[in-house]
Structure formats: structure tokens, C-alpha cells
């Protein structure tokens, strides 16, 4: 009796196991292999609400509402294009002192409490997989999770991708010799559309050819112009934790019902998360350089006759070595002045000479400051100086090479001025400037000298001081 009882138990267990084995549920299809959906950006969109707007300063409502679960500025970065209540704005800066404030480049429109703030992230989906079944002239179908409502208005949804009025134009595919995609047959259907059950956006990629096993296929949904809008944070989203979504990749036989059972299919996951904002500090700085210019170089509209670019016993850095002068003949030299600054208000470079060029650096016998011509040039007024005879002196002209603003330019006739003279109690004059940041602004300073027969023989020199300062 006891043995009989054990026998019944064994038979019952065996029957149960046999039933489970025999009637085990089957998928009805095989798996596509190595399926991956690589997003061009894994950045979540932003769906937030206005708490206050004060000029350019926007404060995000730190509380959530249906559809709006972005409660901080963590996923924004400078230069992001956003919309506030439908109006386009650009993020200027993220206020690090608070978690939910940012500024816009232009004053934001006065916003009512609760107005929407959207940043739209449009990642391109690159889906790759390997086929396991040889299906002639079939098609692949990709299902991307869609938001439950308003999932085709171009705004981010908190529970799936927004279709963003996509068309098949924005989808493409790459196969093999046996899987040749037919662009004209590609289909893109929003959730709930024809042959596209609600809950997923559907993309079909039809091909010709015999099909093959082990072929690597790549499908792209979206391109640089348009793509599905990535979801905004889900309800209950934790900052820094990814929101995951399941995509489906299916393979069907030719002319099959896309809503039916596929031949092969595999699910994949995509995860979206806030962008990591990388910050760095660049110190404010001003650079000032002076470099020499070789002889026979065209500067200020003339060819220089004196080199300032080599260092030898007679030519030292920071000098204009005119050497021996011929009477009533111009000698011309030049320097490059280069200024870079990230100071917001720009820079100026001023110039002043300590005195007229004096014999042995003294003041008893001097080469006059340039008068330029019949109408004399002055420290503040330039005149053409293209005749050496009758107009001896030492002066300069300017030419903006790149970016710099100069108070006058040489032109075709060497428009020139004498340097401001400290001995005459002149103040330094601005020779180069900018009212904004400057990236390698370059100007030529061209020196010119001429002496006549009345000039006493000797060595003449003076000192010119250039000063570069940032504007405040």
C-alpha cells in the first residue's frame, strides 16, 4: 500500500514534467544576433516648467507636474537651443550657485508660472545586428517606444520617444550583397498608425536579394537633419540615473503582415541620461608681442629698407636700427605688434617716444619729429609723407593686418604722424585697440626717417615705449 502510494507520486511528477516539456511555451521565432542600438547622444531631453523669469535669469520650477519631470538645470549647458513657452531661446550660462537656474543670451519673455521649457535631444539610432535566417526579399522592422500621448508633436515626452513628424526620408540602411535595401520601400509610421500598434513607433526596411545568415545589417533612424525626440526624464526620475527603454528588431518574410509573428526577432535596450557638464576655467589674460620684419617686406604700403627681425651685434631685439642714413632719402622699417586678450572690454596699445632722436641719445642735436609735408602732420593728425626732400624727420604709420583697430592707416602715400613726445609733455597715443576680446590682433607699425644736409653727423637714437593694457 505504501509502495503503491509512492508509485502514484512518481507517476504524477513524471506526468507533470512530461506535460511541461511537451507543452512548454515557444516564442515561435529565433533571435537576431548581437543586436545593438547605439544613440548618437544618450542625452535626455528636458521638459521643465518656469518658476520665475527675471530678465535673462530663468528659474526652473523644482516641483514636478504631469509631463514635466525636469526639475533642475542639470541637463542644460551653455549654447543649448531651447524653447520657453514656445519661443526660441539660447542658454547663456548655468548658474552654479543654484540647482535650478540658468540665463539666456537674450532677455527671456516674461513667463507665466508653469510655462514650458523644452530642450530637444534628437539622437540618431544606429541599430546593428546579425541575421540568423536566410529570408529572401523580406524586411526588417524596428519598434521604438513611444510616449502614451502627444507623441508626434515634436516636444519631448516623459515616457517614450516623440515621432517628431519623421518620414522615411530620415531613415537609411546598409546590408550585404544578398540583402539590398530598397530606399523607396522604407516606411516610418508613428505610434498607432497603419500597421503600427500604439506604444511603438514603427520603421520598416525592405530589401531584395536572397537574404543570408550571419550577415551584419545596420539601420539608421534619423539623421543630422531630423530624428526622433529623446524622452524627457520619467516620473520619479533620479538625477544621474539612466531611464531605460526597450526597442524591438524583427525580420519578416516578403509581404508578411508587419503586425504578425516575425521570423526572427530580438529586443534591445537603450538608456538615456543627463549630459555631464564639463567645466573648466580660463584665466583672464592679455598677451603682447612685438616681432621684427625683414627688409624688403611690404608694410604700410611700402617696402621696408631696414630689417628688424634678426639679432646680431648691430641689430638687437626691440630696436629699429636705421644704420647710416642717406641725405633726403627715406629709410623705412617695421614691427609687428600682436595682442590677444580674453578681457571682455578689449585692449589698447599706446606709444610714446622719450624725446626726439638725439645725437648719442642726448638732446643737444636732434632729428626733428616728422612734419610729413606742406600741411604738417601732428601727434593727433596724420598727413601723407611721400617726399623726403624738404621734410626731414622721424615718424610712423600704421596698418591693421588682422583684427586690430588702428587710428589711421598708411594708405598709398604713407599717411604718417610723429610719435607722441614725452619731452613735449604729450600723453601716450593709442595706436591699436579693440573693444572686445581679441584673438591675435596684428598691426604693422612702420617707422620712417629722413635727414637733410643740415643734420650734424653722429649717432642718433631715442626710445619708443609701447604699452598694452586691457580695458576695464
Amino acid at each position: 500500500m505504501k509502495n503503491e502510494k509512492y508509485l502514484y507520486i512518481v507517476i504524477a511528477v513524471a506526468a507533470l514534467v512530461g506535460t511541461l516539456i511537451f507543452f512548454r511555451p515557444t516564442k515561435g521565432y529565433a533571435d537576431l544576433l548581437v543586436v545593438s542600438d547605439t544613440l548618437s547622444t544618450s542625452r535626455l531631453s528636458v521638459a521643465a516648467r518656469v518658476l520665475t523669469i527675471n530678465g535673462n535669469l530663468v528659474t526652473i520650477d523644482p516641483t514636478t507636474a504631469a509631463g514635466f519631470y525636469s526639475t533642475s538645470s542639470a541637463n542644460l549647458k551653455p549654447q543649448d537651443s531651447i524653447t520657453i513657452n514656445g519661443g526660441a531661446q539660447t542658454v547663456n550660462n548655468i548658474e552654479n550657485s543654484t540647482a535650478n537656474q540658468f540665463t539666456t543670451t537674450a532677455a527671456a519673455p516674461s513667463g507665466a508660472v508653469g510655462n514650458s521649457i523644452y530642450y530637444i535631444s534628437q539622437p540618431v539610432h544606429q541599430i546593428t545586428f546579425t541575421t540568423t535566417t536566410s529570408v529572401p526579399a523580406g524586411f526588417f522592422r524596428v519598434l521604438i517606444p513611444a510616449g502614451a500621448s502627444t507623441n508626434n508633436d515634436g516636444n519631448p515626452d516623459p515616457d517614450g520617444f516623440d515621432f517628431n513628424s519623421m518620414t522615411s526620408t530620415y531613415a537609411s540602411a546598409s546590408g550585404t550583397a544578398n540583402i539590398v535595401f530598397v530606399t523607396a520601400a522604407t516606411a516610418a509610421t508613428a505610434s498607432g498608425g497603419t500597421n503600427c500598434t500604439a506604444g511603438y513607433h514603427c520603421f520598416e526596411f525592405h530589401y531584395t536579394g536572397t537574404g543570408n545568415t550571419g550577415s551584419t545589417v545596420t539601420l539608421w533612424i534619423g539623421n543630422a537633419t531630423k530624428s526622433l525626440v529623446a524622452p524627457a526624464p520619467k516620473s520619479g526620475h533620479n538625477l544621474g540615473a539612466a531611464d531605460a527603454y526597450t526597442i524591438k528588431v524583427q525580420q519578416f518574410a516578403n509581404a508578411s503582415n508587419p503586425t504578425g509573428t516575425p521570423i526572427d526577432a530580438t529586443n534591445g535596450k537603450v538608456a538615456l541620461i543627463e549630459a555631464v557638464r564639463v567645466t573648466a576655467t580660463v584665466d583672464p589674460i592679455i598677451n603682447f608681442s612685438i616681432t621684427g620684419v625683414p627688409a624688403s617686406t611690404t608694410a604700410c604700403g611700402v617696402s621696408t629698407t631696414v630689417a628688424t627681425d634678426t639679432n646680431s651685434s648691430t641689430i638687437t631685439p626691440l630696436s629699429v636700427p636705421f644704420g647710416t642714413l642717406s641725405l633726403n632719402t627715406f629709410a623705412t622699417a617695421a614691427h609687428n605688434l600682436v595682442v590677444s586678450t580674453n578681457a571682455a572690454n578689449g585692449y589698447i596699445v599706446t606709444a610714446i617716444e622719450n624725446q626726439k632722436m638725439g645725437k648719442d641719445g642726448l638732446t643737444t642735436s636732434t632729428i626733428p619729429d616728422a612734419t610729413c609735408g606742406a600741411t604738417p602732420c601732428t601727434v593727433t593728425s596724420a598727413q601723407n609723407w611721400n617726399v623726403a626732400t624738404g621734410y626731414p624727420g622721424f615718424g610712423y604709420s600704421l596698418e591693421s593686418v588682422s583684427g586690430a583697430t588702428v587710428p589711421f592707416t598708411a594708405g598709398a602715400s604713407f599717411n604718417a604722424r610723429p610719435f607722441a613726445n614725452n619731452a613735449n609733455l604729450n600723453g601716450p597715443t593709442i595706436i591699436m585697440s579693440s573693444t572686445g576680446i581679441a584673438n591675435s590682433h596684428i598691426a604693422h607699425v612702420c617707422y620712417r626717417i629722413s635727414v637733410d644736409a643740415t643734420q650734424a653727423a653722429g649717432d642718433y637714437e631715442n626710445q619708443i615705449t609701447y604699452t598694452a593694457t586691457a580695458s576695464f
Binding site: 530678465g55 535673462n56 537674450a106 532677455a107 584665466d283 583672464p284 589674460i285 592679455i286 598677451n287 603682447f288 608681442s289 612685438i290 616681432t291 621684427g292 631696414v306 628688424t308 627681425d309 634678426t310 639679432n311 651685434s313 641689430i315 638687437t316 631685439p317 626691440l318 630696436s319 629699429v320 636700427p321 636705421f322 644704420g323 647710416t324 642714413l325 622699417a333 600682436v338 578681457a343 572690454n345 578689449g346 585692449y347 589698447i348 599706446t350 648719442d360 641719445g361 622721424f394 600723453g427 593709442i430 573693444t435 617707422y447 649717432d459 642718433y460 637714437e461 631715442n462 626710445q463 619708443i464 615705449t465 609701447y466 604699452t467 598694452a468 593694457t469 586691457a470 580695458s471 576695464f472
Partner: protein, 331 residues
């Protein structure tokens, strides 16, 4: 033969070593920060590091000094007089062990040096703004008697705007002046400006600091129609030192500009508002936008139509009835 070869090699070595190096004649220096804004109470002291970098290909002998200034142009550039002095220059010192003010020091090519500037304000210091530039200049202490030409000295400066005050926000008195629109199609009757409704306008304005302390121009340029703002633009924050004026510009460093749309007709108030920590200032003008160009265009079109109609409606000269009769009789 061996000796000749040895002599040849030695000759090569000698001439190689005797050859002078040729350098590009250059100077390059950077300083950071280029602007220092300090608010300090009497009896307190601070330290600020200025970093200088020799960008030249050769070593540079430099000298650092502080030059006070009291004036600036409307672009924020100090009017510097290297010979000027001020009693408060003694507040400044260099905490470096080797580098001192007005004494030369050398920075190797490509190297960086720090100037550790200390500012110690005595308890009894007058409450005022002091403005100065830390100037770092090339240094030469000899005159080459044989040199013919101009020697250059190069200086790079960092401006310092220092407010000495016991109050957190010393009084600032800013006034917006010379606020005027600029456009060809603009005329003024009384205090009202009249402008075309589709022609871009630019606006210029200055701000004058009547106070003794520097202030920063933070604010907005606003255009309103009725009470509704139709255009907003930020003002570029700039420092206005005491008793000086600055040109006001937008955040791009350009004059304020506004292009009205076709429908923006009627009086508009254009306002500049500046807010400092303890005071506000504003200045407004009123412009009436009228569709002047549109009206002129319409008038011209109407005139053309009228003239065209008149020309086309003139009947051709016909022969008088009597003439026809005469011809008939003649036939």
C-alpha cells in the same frame, strides 16, 4: 696627411662655435589677470598673484612698477602718466623674496614668474577709490653710443580698480546721458521722436559716474508699447570709475539697435535701466513709429496709377465733323 685632417676638423669646430646665433628679434609677454577689481575695508589686507609669462625666444629683463591714474576715456582705458605718484602707493608691496618694485628681474625664455602683490590698507586710510596700473616693462640700463635708430621698450599692464570703503555698497551716482536714436529717417518735434516703422534704429548713450566710487553698468535696454515689452537687450557690464563717463553698449559691444516690424506703429518708450547694488538709474525717450516709407510708396503707386489711367484714357485727335463733310462734298 693625418695632421691636415685633424686641422680641418678643428677648423670646422672652431667656425661652428664662432658662428653667431641668429634669432627673430621678438618680445612677448603675457599677464594674468589683466584687470583687478577689489573692494576692501580700511585696516584689511589682501594678496593677489599676477602671473607673467615670457613668450619671447630669449630671456627678458623686466621691471615692475605701479602707476596711479585718475582719468579714463569713455572706452575704459586709463590715461597713464608714468611719472605720476600718489600717497597711497605705499599700500602696495611685493611679497616675492627676490622681485621688488622698480628693480630689474629676469624671466627666462618661455618661463613663468609670479608677482605676489600685497595690498594693505591702513586703518586711517581715506575712504575713496584708488586706481592704478601694474606695469611690467622691458628694462635697459645702458645707452649704446654706437647705435643709430630707435630703441623700443615694451610694457604690459594690468589695471587695478580698488574701492576703499567701510560700507558694503558705497554710494554710486550714475546718470545716463546723451541717450539718442540714430537713423536717417528720423525727426524730432519737442521731446518726441518720429521714425519710420520699418527702418532699423540704433541708439547711443553714455553713463556718467558723478560719485567717487567705481560702479558697474548692469542693466537692460527695453522698448515697450503701452506697458508691453516688445524688445529687450542686455547692457554690457563695464566699470565706470568715479567722475568719469563710459559709452553704453549692448552685450555684443555694439550700439543698441532695434528693427521695428510693420505692425509696430504708434508711440514706443525706449528705456535704459542700470541697477547697481544700492541705486537705480534710468533714462527714457519716446519714439512714434509711423509707416512713412509705406505711405510714400503708396502715394507713388497711386500717382503712377493716376498718371497711367490719364494717359491711356486720352482720346485720339479726330477730324472735326465739318471737315468730314467738306471731304465728302469734295469727293
Amino acid at each position: 696627411m693625418k695632421n691636415i685632417l685633424l686641422l680641418f676638423l678643428l677648423s670646422i669646430c672652431f667656425f661652428s662655435l664662432a658662428t653667431k646665433n641668429v634669432y627673430a628679434a621678438d618680445y612677448g609677454l603675457s599677464v594674468t589677470p589683466p584687470l583687478l577689481r577689489v573692494h576692501i575695508k580700511p585696516g584689511k589686507s589682501i594678496t593677489q598673484v599676477f602671473t607673467i609669462n615670457n613668450l619671447s625666444q630669449g630671456n627678458q629683463t623686466l621691471v615692475a612698477r605701479i602707476v596711479p591714474f585718475t582719468e579714463a576715456d569713455d572706452q575704459g582705458n586709463p590715461v597713464l602718466n608714468p611719472k605720476s605718484t600718489a600717497p597711497w602707493l605705499g599700500y602696495f608691496g611685493l611679497a616675492n623674496s627676490i622681485i621688488k618694485f622698480n628693480e630689474p628681474f629676469t624671466v627666462a625664455a618661455g618661463a613663468t614668474e609670479q608677482l605676489i602683490l600685497s595690498l594693505a590698507v591702513p586703518d586711517n586710510a581715506p575712504l575713496e577709490d584708488v586706481y592704478a596700473t601694474l606695469m611690467i616693462s622691458t628694462y635697459a640700463n645702458s645707452i649704446d653710443q654706437g647705435f643709430q635708430g630707435a630703441q623700443l621698450a615694451a610694457t604690459i599692464g594690468s589695471n587695478m580698480l580698488i574701492t576703499i570703503s567701510s560700507a558694503a555698497f558705497p554710494d554710486t551716482i550714475l546718470k545716463i546721458e546723451n541717450f539718442t536714436p540714430q537713423a536717417n529717417s528720423l525727426f524730432k518735434i519737442g521731446n518726441l521722436y518720429f521714425a519710420d516703422s520699418i527702418t532699423p534704429l540704433t541708439f547711443t548713450a553714455d553713463v556718467h559716474n558723478d560719485g567717487n566710487f567705481a560702479a558697474e553698468t548692469k542693466g537692460v535696454f527695453r522698448i515697450t508699447q503701452g506697458n508691453t515689452p516688445v524688445y529687450l537687450e542686455g547692457i554690457l557690464p563695464v566699470n565706470v570709475i568715479g567722475k568719469s563717463s563710459r559709452q553704453l553698449v549692448n552685450t555684443d559691444g555694439q550700439p543698441f539697435s532695434f528693427t521695428p516690424s510693420l505692425g509696430q506703429i504708434g508711440p514706443h518708450q525706449i528705456t535704459l535701466e542700470i541697477k547697481t547694488d544700492n541705486s537705480n538709474t534710468s533714462n527714457s525717450i519716446t519714439i512714434v513709429f509711423l509707416p512713412l516709407k509705406l505711405l510714400i510708396g503708396l502715394i507713388v503707386v497711386v500717382l503712377i496709377i493716376i498718371i497711367s489711367v490719364k494717359i491711356t484714357s486720352v482720346k485720339p485727335n479726330h477730324i472735326p465733323e465739318s471737315g468730314i463733310d467738306n471731304q465728302k462734298q469734295h469727293l
